[in-house]
C-alpha cells in the first residue's frame, strides 16, 4: 500500500489533531521508522490549514513486523 511520508516534526505537529468530525490524524512509523499518514487523512484534511499536504509525496509503505 501507499501512504504519505512525513518528517518527525510534521508527524508530531498533526498527531491526534481532528481533521474531520470524530476523525483524528494518526501518523505511524513504517518498517524503517519513517512516519506516514494515509489517503483518507490526506484527502479530508481541511484546506488551507493543511495546504502543505500537497508537498507530501505518495510513497510505498511497509508495515513494521508485529508480533
Amino acid at each position: 500500500m501507499t501512504g504519505y511520508r512525513l518528517t518527525t516534526e510534521q508527524a508530531e505537529l498533526i498527531r491526534d489533531k481532528q481533521f474531520a468530525p470524530d476523525s483524528f490524524f494518526n501518523p505511524v512509523p513504517d518498517i524503517n521508522g519513517d512516519m506516514f499518514i494515509f489517503q483518507i487523512e490526506w484527502e479530508l484534511a481541511p484546506r488551507p490549514e493543511y495546504d502543505w499536504f500537497s508537498t507530501l509525496t505518495e510513497t510505498i509503505y511497509t508495515a513494521p513486523d508485529y508480533e
Binding site: 500500500m1 470524530d22 490524524f25 505511524v28
Partner: protein
C-alpha cells in the same frame, strides 16, 4: 359507532408504527430521519430512513425479548445481559458511526484513515483504530464478557478487531483477533497456551462468550455455531489500558491493525448460550435488512 367508523379509516391510512425509545434515541442522535430519505444511493446497500428505523426497531425488540439491554433501556431493571456497547455503524459517516445503540451517550473517536460508508467502517491495516472510553479496568467482570463482531476481511497476518495487552506473551484481553489464528478468550494468560486454533475465515459473524464457573467456561462462535471451547483459568491482571476497536492496544501502541470491514461491533456482560443464539439471529436479521449481511 364512531369507533367502528374510525378504525377502518385509521387502518386504511396505514398502521402507525410505535418505535422503542431506544430506537428513537439512537436514530435521532445520529440524524436518520424516519422518512423516504435515501441512504447510500446507487449501491447495494441503498435503503431509506424508514427502512432503517424498522430494521433497528426489530433488532431492539429481539434483544429485549432475549432479556438483553443497554444502559438505561426500559428493560434494564430485569435484563440478565447488559450491553456495554453495540456499534451498528449506520449512516455512512464517522460522526454517525461513532454512536452506538447500547449507550448513545458514549462516542467513539476514529484515528487514522478509516473509510466510512454504507458497509460500516473499513480499516487500512496500517494506522486505523478507534477508542470510546472503555478501558480494561472499566469492565465489571472480564470473566463474563461477551463480544461479537461482523466482519469482512482478507488477511494473511494476524489482525485484531478488539484487544489490549501489555506485551507479546503477557496477559492480554484479545477479544476477536483474526488472521493465521482466530484468537479469543477474554482475560486469558497467553503463557498458559490458552489459544484457540482457529481457521482462516475472516468474513462472517464472530462471537465469544465467557461465563463464570469451573470447567469449560469459554466458547467461541462463527456464524452462530460453536467452533471451540476451553477451560481457561481467570487471570487477575487488570490492564489499565484503552480497548482499541480495530486493532490491538499493546501498552498504548497500535499493533496488528485490522484491514477489513467491520459492520457491527458489540460488547456485553453475562450472555447465556440462549442469549447468544438470540443475539446472533437478531444480528443476521438486522444486517440482512440493511442489505449487508456477508
Amino acid at each position: 359507532m364512531s369507533r367502528h367508523l374510525w378504525l377502518p379509516i385509521f387502518m386504511g391510512a396505514g398502521k402507525i408504527a410505535v418505535f422503542e425509545p431506544e430506537t428513537s434515541a439512537y436514530l435521532i442522535t445520529i440524524g436518520i430521519p424516519n422518512d423516504g430519505t435515501v441512504f447510500y444511493p446507487a449501491t447495494a446497500q441503498e435503503i431509506t430512513g424508514s427502512q432503517i428505523w424498522t430494521a433497528v426497531n426489530n433488532y431492539v425488540l429481539a434483544l429485549k425479548a432475549a432479556d438483553i439491554s443497554g444502559a438505561g433501556w426500559t428493560n434494564s431493571g430485569t435484563a440478565t445481559c447488559i450491553m456495554l456497547r453495540d456499534y451498528l455503524f449506520i449512516g455512512g459517516t464517522a460522526l454517525r458511526h461513532g454512536y452506538n445503540l447500547a449507550n448513545p451517550n458514549a462516542n467513539a473517536n476514529f484515528f487514522g484513515s478509516w473509510v466510512h460508508d454504507g458497509l460500516g467502517i473499513t480499516g487500512n491495516g496500517a494506522n486505523t483504530y478507534a477508542v470510546d472510553g472503555v478501558r480494561n479496568t472499566d469492565l465489571a467482570d472480564k470473566r463474563e464478557l461477551y463480544h461479537g463482531a461482523i466482519t469482512v476481511a482478507n488477511a494473511t497476518v494476524n489482525q485484531w478487531v478488539y484487544g489490549v495487552r501489555v506485551s507479546f506473551g503477557a496477559d492480554e484481553l484479545s477479544l476477536v483477533g483474526l488472521g493465521t489464528n482466530i484468537y479469543g478468550v477474554p482475560n486469558f494468560n497467553i503463557s498458559t497456551g490458552a489459544l484457540f486454533n482457529g481457521v482462516l475465515v475472516l468474513t462472517g459473524d464472530f462471537a465469544q462468550r465467557r461465563n463464570l464457573g469451573a470447567g469449560i467456561n469459554t466458547f467461541q462462535y462463527y456464524n452462530g455455531s460453536e467452533i471451540g471451547s476451553l477451560d481457561i483459568a481467570n487471570n487477575p491482571a487488570d490492564l489499565n489500558l484503552d480497548l482499541y476497536i480495530g486493532a490491538l492496544n499493546q501498552n498504548n501502541a497500535l499493533i496488528n491493525p485490522f484491514n477489513g470491514n467491520i459492520r457491527q461491533h458489540l460488547l456485553a456482560n453475562g450472555a447465556t448460550l440462549a442469549q447468544h443464539n438470540a443475539w446472533h439471529a437478531a444480528r443476521v436479521a438486522l444486517q440482512t435488512a440493511l442489505n449487508r449481511m456477508p
